[in-house]
């Protein structure tokens, strides 16, 4: 009787959807892993991984993408944190506009963005309505291209970074903490660096991780701007090889999980740090 009652209370549909969801995410991953380990016939081996890691192009492109991701994250934080902070503190009426802008990368494909960038920055800078030229087109030299691609990546990561930062600021009483710091003599810079940033570090890490994931795997911008990044490398590798791309894809997943673990490690044990209370 008791076990029947327990069976009746069992949330069957909840579990069914949960299991289906897990299978949807885990099965492709498992298939990728299994495929990546099957380079040698009838033997489970790490050969695909060894080959992939042995390719100097891999390290070169991956290192370059990590550098681009790091630069994108730094620039994003420098621009987005003060913006979100100011909107929360002084311009709450502008939030809707800014949120709309941050959502634009979801509706405007990367291909449009990159063509726009190329169209605007592949011509020399000149003062409008004059023939006075101020400089070379950004697409003509390496630093200019890096500048362009970081800008583009920042736009692609904008929804994730802005929303993470904004959510983080929602969990702390930004206004009161700011006023408390100001009454103790802190200027704006000190308030942001020593009070606001440390209290939204979980949100910053989340935003940074998402930006990192987007930048490292990004293909369109890098391909069209001719940047030797990891995304185009993986794409090309997939056209010529079978097992190595699977190995690298699974490695990328591991990297993401490692990043999530780091977030837990850094933020865990802090307890309830957020809020003015």
């Amino acid at each position: 009787m008791k076990s029947f009652a327990r069976l009746r209370n069992f949330p069957f549909w909840s579990w069914l959807w949960f299991v289906l969801g897990v299978l949807y995410f885990v099965l492709p991953l498992f298939a990728t892993l299994e495929f990546s380990l099957g380079m040698e016939r009838d033997v489970i081996s790490l050969k695909a991984y060894q080959r992939a890691f042995a390719d100097p192009k891999f390290w070169q492109t991956f290192g370059y993408s990590v550098f681009l991701a790091a630069m994108t994250i730094i620039v994003s934080i420098i621009l987005i944190v003060p913006t979100a902070y100011w909107i929360r503190l002084r311009l709450p009426e502008a939030r809707r506009i800014v949120e709309f802008i941050t959502l634009l990368p979801f509706v405007i494909p990367a291909i449009i963005l990159v063509f726009g960038l190329i169209r605007v920055y592949s011509t020399p800078f000149h003062i409008p309505f004059t023939n006075i030229y101020l400089g070379q087109p950004l697409t003509n030299f390496k630093f200019g291209t890096i500048f362009l691609i970081i800008g583009g990546y920042m736009v692609l990561g904008l929804p994730y970074m802005y929303r993470s930062v904004d959510t983080g600021m929602r969990t702390v009483d930004v206004r009161t903490l700011t006023e408390a710091a100001q009454s103790l003599g802190a200027n704006w810079f000190v308030v942001i660096v020593r009070v606001i940033l440390p209290n939204i570090r979980t949100a910053l890490l989340s935003g940074s991780l998402l930006t990192f994931a987007i930048v490292v795997g990004e293909v369109v911008l890098a391909s069209f701007l001719g940047v030797q990044a990891f995304g185009p490398y993986l794409f090309l590798l997939g056209q010529h090889r079978a097992y190595e791309p699977a190995a690298l894809t699974f490695t990328t997943f591991l990297l993401t999980w490692a990043s999530m673990g780091i977030i837990q490690l850094v933020t865990g044990g802090q307890g309830q740090t957020a809020g003015a209370h």
Binding site: D173, T176, A180, A181, Q182, S183, G185, A186
Partner: protein
């Protein structure tokens, strides 16, 4: 020379006038409370002193130095917030030392001052704790220590006890007052709790709809309220309309009962009406031989409030409360009984609107 001066200070938010023509002079070491209901402008005034709001007009000065347009970080003013506002990422000691480190004081001096402040708030053992590891009362004591650590010229407290439970509120307000007296610091305290304001302050500023209604000592505010609002906001009050019978003698008629007041009714003529007020504790049962200010009423309800018993009376259609000490020898009437009560002429207050 006053330590803190607010001269003709006003603040408008668009069409809304939050504070109008606020004038106040606070002496060094004085404890002044801003008392009033929500939206009366008390917090806005405090925020103008702190520098978080800029007055639309008027002047704020500390020791005759105009600070009206100075940034909050440029004023040497300490602030304690209702929500504590401790920095969650810093330990108690780091919170207290924050302002000193901003001022680039030597590390040794910072550590010494932090230790002094921790001793002052009796939290010496909590220096390495994080705010979330402390109770609400402890967090507010840390917030107080942090505000005091920078040796501010004026200490501002914005409803600092509102988020705490009743028992801690009482003990902490006594502690705040003791610390303020010990350091001799000038303090402005915002509260909507009249008991808090009465118990802690040297002077009280009662505010209503952006204006000052009355400034006075707790004794003056409670016993001699100038307006009906002050009288009703501070303590419990019986109010009624009375007719002037003899202005020179201070004789009134209220619901058929004759009332004698202590002063002459200057500016009034026979037949005018005035608003009178009597505190519940100033009424007592009529004793033998006493004749003046006799009011007859019917007992509507009797409520025990611990040390006090409140008797609700209907005097000629007007509800009156009478408070009497709850002692074993007390003989109470029954509900529905007709009783006669009295008060001294000094207990009858004449209120303005």
């Amino acid at each position: 020379m006053a330590h803190l001066t607010l001269s003709h200070v006003s603040k408008h938010f668009g069409n809304f006038s939050a504070v109008r023509n606020f004038n106040l002079e606070v002496e060094r070491g004085e404890f002044v409370s801003f008392l009033g209901p929500s939206g009366c402008g008390k917090t806005t005034t405090l925020r103008m002193i702190a520098g978080f709001e800029t007055p639309t007009s008027g002047k704020i000065a500390i020791d005759d130095l105009d600070i009206t347009d100075k940034a909050p970080s440029q004023r040497n003013v300490g602030m304690v917030f209702q929500s504590y506002a401790l920095f969650p990422n810093m330990t108690v000691a780091q919170n207290i030392g924050f302002g000193l480190r901003i001022r680039k004081e030597p590390e040794e001096a910072v550590k010494k001052r932090v230790a002094e402040m921790l001793a002052l708030i009796h939290l010496e053992a909590k220096g390495n704790s994080y705010p979330y590891q402390l109770s609400g009362g402890q967090q507010q004591r840390v917030a107080l220590a942090r505000a005091l650590a920078i040796r501010p010229q004026v200490l501002l407290l914005d409803e600092p006890l509102s988020a705490l439970d009743a028992k801690i509120r009482v003990s902490l307000r006594a502690e705040i007052r003791a610390i303020q007296r010990e350091l001799g610091i000038t303090a402005i305290y915002v509260t909507h709790d009249q008991e808090e304001a009465l118990s802690i302050s040297d002077r009280i500023v009662v505010m209503r709809e952006g204006e000052v209604d009355q400034i006075g000592t707790p004794f003056e505010i409670y016993n001699f309220p100038k307006t009906r609002f002050v009288a009703s906001f501070v303590g419990t009050l019986n109010t009624a309309v009375a007719e002037v019978l003899d202005p020179a003698q201070g004789l009134l008629k209220m619901n058929g009962n004759l009332l004698q007041i202590a002063d002459r009714l200057n500016g009034k003529v026979k037949g005018d009406t005035v608003m009178i007020a009597i505190r519940p504790e100033r009424l007592s049962f009529l004793s033998e031989g006493k004749k003046e200010n006799t009011l007859e009423g019917r007992v509507e309800n009797i409520t025990f409030l611990g040390s006090v018993v409140r008797i609700q009376l209907n005097i000629g259609g007007t509800a009156f409360n009478m408070d009497t000490f709850n002692r074993p020898s007390l003989r109470l009437p029954e509900i529905g009984d007709t009783v006669r009560v009295t008060c001294s002429p000094k207990a009858v207050l004449i209120l303005t609107e």
